[in-house]
Symmetry: C2
Subunit: 207 residues, 2 copies
DNA sequence: TCTTACAGTGAGTGAACATTCACTTAATAA
DNA sequence: TTATTAAGTGAATGTTCACTCACTGTAAGA
């Protein structure tokens, strides 16, 4: 007979892999069990349902995401070349598979239909971190070009949310928040060096 | 009795909305039919299967994606402030919902299991466009900071592919291609002004 | 040894789903 | 008017899937 913890580890490893590869809805319990080399019924000894298992994984990685963002905020506040640090963190952040998984699960958020009032909104957190970091340190390197490139990154992020999050009425404000924050970063701002008047983005300026 | 073309339009509009919102697997034919205010059976007069319908939409938007990328390439080749144009295009590109949908479908690519040899690889196209554009024009604004921000954007894109594409053995080289291209953009390059020695990225340079 | 408790198993169950089909309706041609 | 064709319908069908349950190991304490 096996150890319960070991079984759970195997199931979660298999489920994570399959959920990332195919999405929660398209992954069958049979597949997860087979991949973990465990009987179907055994899965239900450890998790109430497939959904419950997905949520288990979601919350674990969500905590990881929040932690990483806190660390990012601390880094921005204390280290010298703020822009570089920010970017470095973002790259690391998005290149780590466990954290990437947060975004998969974020996208399934809506489908799982269980966003509680406690659940922090990761977009808000990202936006707050960037704004505070930039405002507090009057970032030197924020030329129009850098800002534009940053906006490109943010717009890409919005794209992610738009596509994989839900494009419904309730959730699209979430994307809008990020778009607005992106424009705030490049347009006026009390501390930015890239300022032009509100409404006039760097994109509307000719050579 | 209705017009066949009108019915198809209604079905596709409804399917598009639902596929984007919930994913293909999680969307039922019943839902699509109900949203289009059409009987379930009627859908099968026009499409062989739900999968077939998804592929119909996939190919249409895939063509749109390819077209837009060609236009982007033309723009980079002929207009003055190349970096700005590129970024502007990218923003527009990712902010258009029909094109965003391509990415949703790209993510379902693997699940639908029907990538043919003719199907162009969108990552390759993006990379080629950026490399050629930058190489040909010796882009002025490519300071380390701009490059870093661009990389951030690209890494975000990789994230998208990693998460929503398939993280399997066959497809992860695709993500690696983009990562490598990103580093090539910031590191050495024959035309870039951001050059340092290969292997030494701007991220490893201290203040 | 016997007992209790926990872990594992896979055939079985019912609900949800994609797809089919016998039939109806409308428009146009003969 | 009648015949033909294309479009539409929703109850019926068979399949897939999440989840259950009666039963089998295994280990540790009495």
């Amino acid at each position: 007979m096996r150890d319960g913890a070991e079984t759970r580890r195997r199931l979660e490893r298999a489920a994570l892999k399959l959920f990332v590869a195919k999405g929660v809805a398209a992954t069958t319990v049979r597949e997860v069990a087979a991949a973990a080399d465990i009987a179907e019924g055994t899965l239900y000894r450890h998790y109430v349902s497939k959904e419950e298992l997905a949520w288990e994984l979601f919350h674990r990685h969500y905590r990881g995401l929040a932690l990483e963002l806190d660390r990012l905020q601390a880094g921005v506040a204390t280290l010298p070349d703020k822009l570089e640090i920010m970017i470095r963190h973002f790259c690391k952040f998005f290149d780590q598979d466990p954290l990437l998984f947060s975004y998969l699960l974020l996208s399934q958020h809506g489908h799982l239909q269980r966003v509680t009032s406690e659940t922090p909104n990761p977009v808000d957190v990202v936006v707050r971190v960037m704004e505070e970091g930039l405002a507090r340190n009057e970032v030197q390197g924020l030329t129009p070009e850098v800002a534009a490139a940053l906006v490109m990154g943010l717009v890409l992020q919005v794209a992610v949310f738009r596509i994989y999050g839900r494009l419904t009425e309730e959730l699209s404000p979430l994307a809008d928040t990020l778009v607005k924050a992106a424009w705030r970063l490049v347009a006026p701002g009390p501390a930015g060096t890239a300022g032009s008047s509100p409404g006039t983005s760097i994109f509307s300026a000719k050579t």
